[in-house]
């Protein structure tokens, strides 16, 4: 009797499972560092060891320098360096003695602002930008003025510069609004300018321009609320009354009126009548919700 050939399974190959993160036993800083730095161990094991550095990263100056050396070493695999960075970031909150290590930590981060590893570079710049670091601001501004020197995309640079209203970013942000390299950069430039009192006129123009994308108009509404709340209220009213305006912007306007409008709106009969019609007939559920919110405050 011929043996049957084993039946070939017709089942699809099992979906590639995500590798379980390696677990390593709890260990002291020295051992964790040795494991994280060991090129013979798997990346997963090295990452797991790096995570353990948080608790005790700053307890010993020499060990801390060695941790920083792993972070700065371009031959160490990216996931390990990122895990070390994450451990250090966590240590800034969880270690009661991190103040001791802060100078060396910041110095090491500055050494990485042009690192070839894109994700590491962006995370480092993010940390320094949140510190309002002048060196970082100078580098980011240089990159916006001369894209050949940029270390991150324009939209990222603008986002990082927006952490400090005192950075000299407004002129370049305005230029990017006028001549954006891409729409993401334009949006980030607008977000940055939301802290600029001299940009009220620009935001009014954008909010009132139906040719602008709804997201950009909504962003402008938010900026106006911060910089010139009465102007936003006036414009929101016009937008709600305009039957041809975009439904997303209309919903935003209704929310602005409902949340921040003055008591005098209760006497605005044309506006209330319009919102009542929107509550009943609007095609957009967001507009209906906004109308409902408005009327719960102002319905006579």
């Amino acid at each position: 009797m011929a043996t049957k050939k084993p039946r070939r399974s017709t089942a699809k190959p099992a979906a590639r499972k995500k590798a379980k993160p390696a677990s390593v036993p709890a260990m002291d800083t020295k051992m964790a560092l040795a494991l994280a730095a060991n090129p013979k161990k798997s990346i997963a094991q090295r990452v797991a060891a790096a995570v353990q550095l948080t608790r005790t990263a700053c307890d010993d100056a020499q060990l801390f320098d060695e941790i920083l050396a792993v972070l700065k070493d371009g031959t160490v695999p990216s996931p390990v360096r990122l895990a070390v960075l994450q451990a250090l970031q966590a240590a800034t909150f969880s270690s009661p003695v991190f103040d001791i290590c802060r100078p060396a930590y910041l110095s090491a981060l500055r050494a990485l602002v042009k690192d070839p590893d894109k994700e590491l570079r962006q995370r480092v710049l993010g940390i320094l930008a949140r510190e309002h670091d002048g060196y970082t601001q100078q580098l980011l501004l240089e990159g916006l003025r001369d894209p050949k020197k940029a270390v991150v995309p324009a939209e990222k640079a603008l986002q990082l510069l927006s952490y400090d209203v005192h950075s000299d970013a407004y002129p370049v942000a305005r230029e990017i609004v006028r001549n954006p390299p891409n729409q993401r950069a334009r949006r980030e430039a607008l977000r940055l300018l939301a802290a600029d009192a001299n940009s009220v006129g620009m935001f009014e123009t954008i909010l009132g321009n139906k040719k602008e994308a709804p997201e950009v108009r909504q962003l402008s509404a938010s900026a106006l609320h911060s910089l010139a709340p009465k102007k936003l209220q006036d414009m929101a009213r016009k937008i709600v009354l305009d039957k041809r305006d975009d439904h997303k912007v209309k919903a935003t306007s209704l929310t602005a009126l409902a949340s921040f409008g003055s008591d005098s709106i209760a006497r605005d009969k044309p506006l209330i009548a319009k919102v009542e019609r929107l509550e009943g007939n609007a095609a957009s559920s967001a507009v209906k919700r906004g109308a409902n919110q408005f009327l719960s405050k102002y319905r006579p």
């Binding site: 009661p96 400090d164 709340p229």
Partner: protein
């Protein structure tokens, strides 16, 4: 020599300071360059202002710190929060002719300010940025304690207590040990510290006969959106006027100023002057600090706000206000790039009777000055 103006690049500024260093006849210009409202800082970002000021302080350190520059150095130690500037100030102080006990308290304060803001800085390169070697602000402060010697005697107990603190690295503890050793040795030798200079700014009055600026153009708006003219508000009773802005990131400046103003209000009430002397907090940032923001900022710091105690923004006449008070502030567009602490006492005619600037001011002293101004009236 390059004219020191806003259009200079930082590289040109750096070169200009080098020229000033080399020319003894231009020494006074260095102190002038430390005024916040010097035009050389117009339309510069805060980071640029820090780089420029640090470079001036280091130039002063090379030449030796003198009296006209001293208050700026002490100010940085008292309430500065940038490691580069604090380090440069501590370095500059070591070149002053005479160590004085009053410096010790300011150095202790600087150590505390820098505890969670310390950084490695280069005191030889423009801007202070370094990724290699350098010193830190706390190291420089401790070295200045060593220089103070016997003049730091009163600070010894606090310095000794720091030996056991967790916030000091081995390297800093070594500097701390050297400082304590130097102070102890100087005291053992019987050195007597020279008691000079008060860091408190002397009260000043406008020059007699000076034409008053046209303050009739100045209109203010308070935290409730009520508008009032400068003259209408500030004549009839004495006033304590503090300057601030809500986007200030230095907790030892604006936030502390408003908290202290709240204490001034309490002291005035306790002394029976709560209705007879008014307080006012005026923002440097009127375009952004709208009434709701003013109110929230004051409320969260315990400030009373009513007809006699207001938070204000200028809706008209900011230039006149800046000129009247000679405000120690500068801007990049509408955003403050640097400012000093300043509290002014006005007499019932709205004239400046006294000013407390740069160094942390004493609430009781301000209250006493305001009461004196109220009681002498228009005399």
């Amino acid at each position: 020599m390059l004219a020191l103006e806003a259009s200079l690049s930082e590289a040109q500024f750096c070169a200009a300071v080098g020229q000033l260093k080399a020319d003894a006849s231009k020494r006074a210009v260095l102190a002038e360059l430390l005024r916040e409202n010097n035009p050389v800082y117009d339309e510069r970002g805060t980071a640029a202002v820090v780089r420029m000021r640090g470079w001036i302080l280091l130039a002063i350190a090379e030449l030796g710190l003198t009296e006209p520059e001293l208050l700026y150095v002490l100010e940085e130690l008292d309430n500065g929060h940038d490691a580069y500037l604090v380090a440069a100030a501590a370095r500059a102080l070591r070149t002053y002719a005479t160590p004085a006990p009053v410096f010790a308290q300011l150095l202790l304060r600087a150590l505390g300010n820098m505890r969670s803001r310390d950084d490695v800085v280069s005191l030889t390169t423009y801007g202070g940025y370094t990724i290699v070697e350098g010193s830190t602000a706390r190291q420089e402060i401790l070295r200045t304690f060593a220089w103070l010697g016997a003049a730091a005697r009163e600070a010894l107990p606090e310095l000794e207590a720091m030996r056991g603190e967790a916030g000091f690295s081995a390297a800093l503890k070594q500097e701390l040990g050297l400082a304590i050793g130097a102070i102890g040795a100087a005291c053992a030798e019987g050195a007597e510290p020279h008691d000079c200079c008060s860091p408190q700014a002397d009260a000043w009055k406008p020059a007699p006969g000076a034409a008053p600026l046209n303050m009739q153009t100045v209109t203010l708006e308070d935290q409730d959106g009520r508008r009032i003219g400068f003259r209408e508000l500030f004549t009839g009773k004495s006033s304590v006027v503090a300057f601030f802005y809500t986007r200030c990131t230095n907790p030892r400046k604006c936030s502390l100023t408003i908290e202290k103003l709240a204490r001034v209000q309490r002291l005035l009430r306790e002394k029976g002057f709560g209705d007879r002397i008014q307080t006012a907090a005026i923002t440097y940032d009127p375009a952004f600090d709208l009434p709701d923001r003013l109110r929230a900022y004051g409320a969260s710091r315990g400030l009373t706000m009513d007809d006699n105690n207001r938070m204000l923004r200028t809706v008209r006449g900011m230039a006149a206000l800046r000129g009247y008070f000679q405000l120690g502030v500068n801007f990049i567009e509408s955003v403050v790039n640097r400012h000093r602490i300043e509290v002014h006492v006005l007499n019932p005619r709205g004239e400046i009777a006294a000013s407390f600037e740069r160094i942390e001011w004493d609430e009781a002293a301000v209250v006493d000055t305001a009461i004196a101004a109220q009681q002498t009236g228009t005399a």
